[in-house]
Symmetry: C2
Subunit: 547 residues, 2 copies
């Protein structure tokens, strides 16, 4: 029995004073009771349902699922709905099953949206492909509850057979959307195809149109994309029941220092939202959308996933109960983090990699160079002549032109895409990583082929990670041995190493404030204007390889 | 295309002016469009989703499903959720399948809640039994969406294995409740067992407690039970999304003269409820509770089940579109009512029935007599000495004591329960019916055994119905050949005959204003205090046969 609680009733919007009886991990009754086999006195603290994150890619944290749970459970997150777009692009169904197995051992329940865009495009080589048949098979798994964000909205609108087949495979379940700026007839068509939510709205106007068309709106407040302030009026309005808070992508440091969904609630309340309403957007609303009927409310029959806070305004999560068992208190996880084992740790498989493979033949004409724009992830296509050495194009440090290579790492095809980037600033060495959206091949920017080869070989030895290489040695590295994406280390270690990596990159001259994050997007051929994938230099507008 | 509509958006609560494009029975887009293959100009009429009745026993109308559709579709009802408690007590799964087959041929989509209480008690003989295995089998049928009202709440609270097994069979689906006055810990236990709704609330206070415990509240406005006025504040309040309108039981005459769910909406609006809100309680709210995700809103991808009204305040349904096809206009059904066939028309199977079978032996002590209370269906247990003739107890017209018999009619067991009723008023003849809750055996009240036998044999010849018998002949009769419960005749004919029946009963001296309705409850052994079933006179408080 949890005694003396101020219960936040997310169904009625009221706060009730009372005791909560728990039996076999579920709420048996709410009222005033004399005794129970075990009594925990909450001393009048607010008691609310465990928080639910309705849309997140946990890989963005670079944390192993066990470490992710250790980080977010003390913040009150007990259920998350994740679209494992990243790990699925590397390992396919095996990557999803890996997280499923871990979820079962942790007090953090993961529900899975089958990734709809694996591979994301035909302009890169991914580790795996999930076709409609694979989606159908995934839908038969217990914790797969829907289809992940359908980013290929041009495919939906043009009636692509492959996209429609995937939608058909998910018929009757939640299907998440991803449709920045889609309006009018296109929006009607996208919704009519069965897509039910969107997390890309940046204005109330856009969100209102999507709500009227029947979509649920996910109000996103992540590490990079922050839409809460702009969309807050929705949470206060008539249609609040069709909105929910999500984080989408959240770094380990933000999870650790700020929190997870609790941070979004806290920020919403600080911006003036009624705290009970904020809790509704973080609990019952996602539960209803995702049809998780056993959670989201403190009521009889519900799972005893419960969280306490002393003050609804300050909203600092204190106790966290999962199925009635205390799993965190005062920000500290109280559950044992299971020993991580060597699973999915052999995903960096390279073909022949030598100077010859990195060579860019001099053509005599200008070359399409990736032009960085400070503070943005969109790039410019710039036609420049790189440095020249004999019959090769090479980096030109004077003009801040660096060689940028992407090496296929899933099937040892030996594919190497070679290009150049300007604006990165390196004057020595190379930086490289196996986190490279969406296919997560190895991406490396460096001043010389020796440095580039050194960095790539370091990644191969670590079986993935992030590395700073110079002077013939690894200066700093964060091994990400799980799928080349995740670290099994404690969150504090990951954060510290990330900080050291950025510092080391700065010492080599890197200009972008988050050099590795930026590097991870330079291989993503869906964001304008120019990218490099393992297939070569991609002109995103033309949607083809141009060099 | 439906042009120039004022669209009631049940998702946002707003009214939008626009056109609606329909394709393959579904809404393709909403906006302003130039042309389409076929255009219907709505001239600015209000366009709303097809109405949904969330809880009704269609047998209360005594109409064949085809005639029921003919009656309610012009009132805008396009989906109904029905618990076929009556026909299932007579015909079991066959009765449910009968309605399923008819629904498939009609523009009225029936969704079925598996009846949870067949038989209702062990104190009577029903035609069929649905155990947990049968419920499990029903759940595999496409249009069975949950478990019907769990009336046996004592069974839930005491943890009856049979009841829990039925709840288990429905796990993961909506489960309707029936818990008049249940509060506090008992309510907690009932809800924790998985029961999700209640339609028996008579006060806001009771309903608020149930809402806080997580139940959906069905605001019932039927032919006899009318709770709308008392519960209207719920529809205007914060938790309106968890409430819906239902009719539960509605007579043919009320359907014809007043309407169905449209009548509830109309009355709610006349009582001051915002019309858009009233529409929400009749569309999106039941759709969400019953997880009918393709209806309840005018939005892309939704079924094109649509209704027009000229005025939201007057709320007179004009056009009715089912899957985009006009099926009613101006109160008239425009679809062909399929020819009804002889199905389930052999359900009155009697054993030996003669004077001997009706004989009540004189005991010399007082006899428990059913005492009617004007205007109520609860009865008093009165210990009286009936009339005496030789060694028999018989009717005593001077003191308004009539013989009341219930004859088992499903399995020809020859069971005859014999008792007496006071307050009915007959001075001549007998009235009898095959509608007798919950097992629907034959029930008859009469002044002499000759009249009773005459009435019962008339019912046997008709294979069910209602009959007034006197002077050795049938004075008036409504044949109900389908399961002894339903008439295949047009609604107007059924209504006219019902009126004639009541008039004929009055001419024999019957005092209750609705003699046949009252008669149908005299065999129902769950309403206090005294009833007669085919097993004998039942003391409801003691829950056993006492004579």
């Amino acid at each position: 029995m949890l005694r003396d609680a101020r219960i936040v009733n997310t169904l009625t919007g009221c706060i009730e004073h009372g005791d909560v009886l728990i039996s076999v991990g579920h709420i048996a009754a709410i009222g005033c009771f004399d005794s129970a086999r075990r009594v925990v006195d909450l001393g009048g603290a607010f008691l609310l349902p465990g928080l639910i994150d309705g849309h997140t890619h946990i890989e963005s944290s670079m944390l192993h699922p066990a470490r992710y749970a250790e980080a977010v459970v003390p913040h009150g997150t007990l259920t998350l709905v994740t679209d494992l777009h990243e790990i699925a692009n590397v390992c396919g169904v095996e990557g999803i099953e890996f997280c499923m197995r871990w979820s079962a051992r942790l007090p953090l329940e993961m529900k899975f949206m089958a990734p709809s865009c694996v591979p994301a495009t035909s302009l890169e080589t991914s580790g795996a492909a999930l076709n409609a048949g694979a989606i159908r098979a995934l839908m038969r798994k217990r914790d797969v509850i829907g289809l992940g964000e359908v980013m290929n909205y041009p495919g939906v609108l043009s009636g692509s057979a492959e996209v429609l087949e995937k939608l058909e495979a998910a018929r009757g379940r939640p299907v998440d959307g991803h449709a920045p700026g889609l309006r009018g007839r296109d929006l009607s068509a996208y919704v009519a195809a069965g897509i039910m939510s969107d997390h890309e709205c940046t204005s109330v106007d856009e969100a209102s149109e999507k709500l009227a068309a029947g979509m649920r709106i996910m109000i996103r407040e992540g590490s990079s994309e922050k839409n809460l302030e702009a969309l807050l009026p929705l949470a206060a309005g008539e249609t609040y029941r069709r909105c929910m808070f999500v984080v989408d992508d959240r770094s380990a440091a933000d999870l650790y220092y700020e929190g997870d969904i609790d941070h979004v609630v806290r920020k919403a309340v600080s911006l003036g939202l009624d705290p009970v309403r904020a809790v509704q957007l973080a609990t019952i609303n996602p539960a209803e959308y995702f049809r998780l009927y056993d959670r989201g409310a403190v009521a009889p029959g519900m799972a005893a996933d419960l969280v306490t806070v002393e003050s609804l305004e300050e909203f600092v999560v204190d106790r966290v109960f999962r199925r009635g068992v205390l799993v965190a208190k005062g920000g500290k996880a109280l559950f044992p983090v299971p020993e991580t084992t060597a699973q999915l740790t052999d995903t960096v498989r390279l073909g022949t990699l030598d100077h010859q493979a990195l060579r860019v033949a001099r053509t005599g004409t200008d070359f399409p160079v990736v032009g960085l724009i400070p503070g943005q992830i969109v790039t410019r296509k710039r036609m420049l002549t790189p440095g020249v050495s004999g019959d090769e194009y090479v980096s030109d440090l004077e003009r801040d032109i660096l060689k940028l290579v992407v090496v296929e790492r899933h099937h040892a095809t030996g594919n190497v895409g070679k290009g150049f980037v300007t604006g990165f600033g390196l004057t020595r060495g190379a930086i490289a990583g196996s986190v490279a959206h969406d296919s997560h091949n190895l991406v490396c920017a460096g001043v010389s082929d020796d440095d580039i080869l050194g960095a790539l070989r370091a990644l191969e030895r670590m079986q993935g990670g992030l590395v700073v290489f110079a002077d013939g040695e690894v200066k700093e590295a964060l091994p990400l041995p799980v799928a080349g994406l995740l670290s099994p280390g404690p969150v504090q270690d990951v954060i510290a190493t990330q900080r050291h990596l950025e510092e080391a990159a700065r010492q080599l001259g890197a200009k972008p404030p988050a050099a590795f994050a930026l590097l991870s997007f330079l291989a993503l051929p869906v964001i304008p204007e120019l990218r490099v994938t393992d297939l070569g230099v991609v002109d995103v507008g033309a949607f083809r390889v141009v060099a």
